[in-house]
């Protein structure tokens, strides 16, 4: 177990370093950022001075190490557009994204787990087939398409929900949250539903597969033979055992959802990190793009690491597999 954790930790550090090189080489070195920073009439001497000031006259390795050192201190440079530190821009937008993803994942679990159990208990029933067909649509149709259809239905046709932007926020401990106002919920409903539907589709499939796996087990048969009420078998014997894969997948999907919020946020003009990323890619605001990508890689690697370790902590049989 400790060997496994150390192994995974080293791998995580390796991945972060490799990705930082990739992002650095890809975004930092290609092209000349000074051409974006100075006016076209600037003289060559002015350009040289700027290059020196930015450290662009140094060798690649010195530049990379400087970049890495600054990044470790949370300094990714300033946005070309607003002049604010890139990291600050991202951190400011973070609560909106996290709020959206948490609500979407909660929705996915609340809807997905019961439907998945239902489909797993009676795989041949028409209702189960409908659930499974719906789940195929849920994750094969693109996220932005589902968002568009929801806007068509609820914002344009029925006119009951707003189609864009974040609602009224309440400041709690320095963090602006919109889940405590009615207006906030109205604005949150459609984006969260869009993001949540795709995730619910996945949770349904995982829950169904786990249910089908657990049902033929001896302890379920034994519980039935003892004459326990079906509701008790469901709640205690089944639910507890299918929880491990569901929690694992939900954790991994949380990371995916943060990344995928890019799409949902763009559709609904939700002022989160993802919308910032797309705007920055389109306006070539490199420091912000680099800061977002490095932070996201860092976050995903750590999340995967934590889930891997938790998984082994929860499920003893998985630990044995690792040792083998």
């Amino acid at each position: 177990m400790p060997v496994f954790i150390i192994n995974r930790l080293l791998q995580a550090i390796g991945v972060i370093l490799v990705m930082s090189v990739l992002v650095f080489v890809g975004l930092y070195l290609i092209g000349d950022p000074t051409s974006m920073l100075v006016s076209p009439e600037a003289t060559e001497i002015e350009r040289q001075a700027l290059r020196k000031a930015l450290g662009l006259d140094q060798s690649i390795w010195i530049q990379y190490l400087t970049f890495l050192g600054n990044a470790a201190h949370g300094d990714f440079g300033r946005s070309f557009l607003t002049g604010q530190p890139a990291l600050q821009l991202i951190v400011e937008r973070m609560p909106a994204t996290v709020e959206l993803v948490v609500v979407a994942m909660t929705f996915a679990l609340v809807v997905g787990v019961p439907l998945g159990i239902l489909a797993g208990l009676r795989p041949k029933a028409p209702s189960s087939k409908a659930i499974m067909t719906g789940s195929i649509l849920g994750f094969s149709l693109p996220n932005f398409w589902i968002g568009l259809m929801l806007i068509m239905l609820f914002a344009v046709y029925l006119g009951v929900l707003p189609a864009s932007a974040r609602g009224e926020t309440v400041n709690i401990g320095g963090v602006a949250l919109s889940i405590f106002t009615l207006d906030g919920w109205q604005h949150l409903a459609l984006p969260a539903l869009t993001l949540g539907m795709a995730k619910a589709a996945l949770i349904i499939r995982v829950t169904r597969a786990a249910t089908r796996e657990v049902l033929p087990m001896d302890y379920i048969k034994f519980a039935r033979a003892k004459g326990l009420r079906p509701s008790r078998i469901l709640k205690v014997h089944l639910l507890k055992n299918i929880l491990i894969p569901i929690v694992t997948v939900a954790g991994l999907e949380f990371g995916q959802a943060i990344a995928f919020a890019v799409v949902t946020e763009s559709v609904f003009s939700w002022p989160g990190m993802g919308k910032l990323l797309i705007d920055s890619i389109i306006t070539l605001d490199r420091p912000v793009v680099v800061a977002y990508l490095i932070m996201m890689v860092f976050f995903l690697v750590i999340l995967n690491l934590v889930i891997d370790i938790l998984y082994i902590a929860i499920d003893p049989s998985a630990g044995e597999k690792v040792r083998d």
Binding site: Q11, F144, V156, V263, L300
Partner: protein
């Protein structure tokens, strides 16, 4: 194509495996609907330059007075009936959808084929040689698959910039790992079969064993993955183009058409966005129906 040698009791003995697969496939009505749907979308899209009512990218053929006309209206100058309406630049939406579908299918098909080629080669080599090569390649695959596809694609496109070829490269980078993993999984089983042993005893070269003996026997699951992946590629490309980081304006795909119409949707001009959207959804659903059934047909366990 090599298929399981067991011939079902109902089929006559002289039937070829390919024909038997075809018969099996045709048994499922839903899969046939999917196939018909796909042909209905793909054939006009491929023939778009010859059958579309208008070339939507030839500025000269557009009449700006016809912009944002509802479906079914007739252009006064052009004399074309706009069955699906026109967009803000007076382009016939039907023609734009046909051309857009062409771009979407092209990107998906090229990227999936290339990913299949690269992924299968990597996966088969990993399985055949084993050892450190296997460990290294599969570690790379694992790490890549732990990142969300959209994030990998966005990293690639922010490095490469915009363009049809760049979207294809980004999609290949996203997808090859799935094929590598599937190919390796299948090849690990096949590697220990007698025919591989026989080929080794004949001291055939590794290239010949991998590509002439191993590959054909690992194909069925790869074909299934490739079919379903076609839908993923179309969806991902549409998403990237919708976000404005995908295909260029000169070669709009369905995703970009939807994005172009998005701003007009709130004012009730739904058709600019909705018809490309419907075409996109039908293509994805069609591919999924076919792929889903193909999985059942090509699964040797079900063939008995």
């Amino acid at each position: 194509m090599n298929t399981p040698m067991t011939v079902s009791s109902t089929a006559p003995a002289e039937e070829s495996p390919f024909r038997r697969l075809l018969m099996q496939f045709a048994e499922n009505r839903l899969a046939l609907v999917g196939l018909a749907l796909l042909l209905l979308l793909a054939v006009p899209a491929i023939l778009a330059p010859w059958i579309a009512p208008q070339n939507p990218y030839d500025i000269g053929s557009l009449d700006i007075l016809d912009s944002q006309m509802p479906p079914g209206s007739m252009g006064e100058m052009t004399g074309i009936t706009y069955w699906l309406g026109t967009d803000s630049q007076a382009r016939d939406v039907l023609s734009a959808v046909l051309f857009g579908m062409r771009t979407s299918l092209l990107v998906a098909f090229v990227s999936v084929s290339a990913s299949l080629l690269i992924g299968a080669t990597v996966g088969l080599c990993a399985a055949y040689f084993g050892g450190w090569l296997d460990a290294l390649l599969m570690r790379i695959v694992d790490i890549q698959l732990s990142f969300p596809a959209i994030l990998v694609a966005l990293i690639m496109l922010s490095i490469l910039g915009q363009g049809l070829d760049k979207v294809i490269v980004a999609l290949i980078v996203v997808q090859w790992a799935y094929f590598a993993r599937t190919a390796r999984g299948t090849a690990l089983v096949e590697r220990n079969r007698e025919y591989i042993l026989a080929a080794r005893c004949l001291s055939l070269g590794w290239r010949r064993i991998i590509f002439r003996h191993l590959l054909p026997n690992c194909l069925p699951p790869l074909i299934v993955i490739a079919t379903i992946d076609l839908a993923h590629a179309i969806a991902l490309e549409a998403t990237l183009s919708f976000l404005g980081v995908g295909v260029p304006v000169t070669q709009p795909s369905l995703g970009m058409l939807i994005a172009n119409g998005f701003e007009f949707m709130l004012s009730g001009h739904y058709w600019i966005s909705v018809f490309p959207g419907i075409a996109l959804a039908l293509a994805i659903i069609g591919i999924n129906l076919v792929g889903d059934h193909l999985r059942d047909v090509l699964n040797p366990r079900n063939a008995q």
